[in-house]
Amino acid sequence: MITYEMPLLLRLMTRPELVSTLKRTAGIIFDQGGIIRRLDSLGTKDLPYRISSHGAVHRRASQFIIEFVVPPSSIKILKDEFERDIDVVRSRIYKVEELTPVECTLHEEILPPAYRKDVQEMVELAKKKFKPKFKNNTGLSYYPFQK
């Protein structure tokens, strides 16, 4: 099963309303056979930009982040459910990526261009593109006749 993360923006509501909305969203996930791993509240904040949803313009919203596990086939259903929910200003579902240690390649990237691998590859590619030049086969480095 894949772990997903959902930043959820809810419209400004009273506390009991907010609780019922969260319970509803949780219920939708449970209905799909999912498990909620984590539910964080980031508080009620000003939005970075105005968001209009369901016929209203929102400038403030309560932010939540829900981490859950559901079968991938039900993601489409969840998206549709939250899109149609009037209290949800915006919701996105992102996959939680596993930590994979990446080796830093900066020391190779800041080398002078001639020593960089990608540049060397580019130069070779450019060489391949050149058309073959006509050879005089005179054994001379210059053209012996008048041009």
Partner: protein, 155 residues
Amino acid sequence: MSALMPAISKTGNILKSFMNLRASLQVARVRPFTSSIKENSSRYDDLKKESDPDMPLEDIKNPFEKEKIKCILCEHNIRVDYKNVRLLSQFVSRYTGRIYGRHITRLCKAQQERVEKEIWKAQQAGLMGGYTRDLAYANDPQLFNPDQPIRPHRF
């Protein structure tokens, strides 16, 4: 003329046999000589190494090799995440709201790609503005100097 012919052929035969003998002698002389040199040289080197510890070592790393430079995120082992808007907004210009390029941020390719991806995710989720930087984060310390890019740019 017919009387002379056998005499010439005789001398020719003698010459041939002489040349063959010379060739065989040469071979016999050269072979052991070369092989003995090879054997002696390797043994000589071994003896030299054993007896003289001051001789230069052959298989040694370049002692003058510079330390590998790491980008700021790899160095401190920081994982950028779309929820950490404050960190992400440090890679965004406070004037134009645009993401700084690799020539300014001095990140490695993988990290720069990741930063751009996470910024896009945060913007889509409504956590971070596009083409704006939150005023609360406007005076955060600079991780890099955009006025001194490692390569010239068009801004």
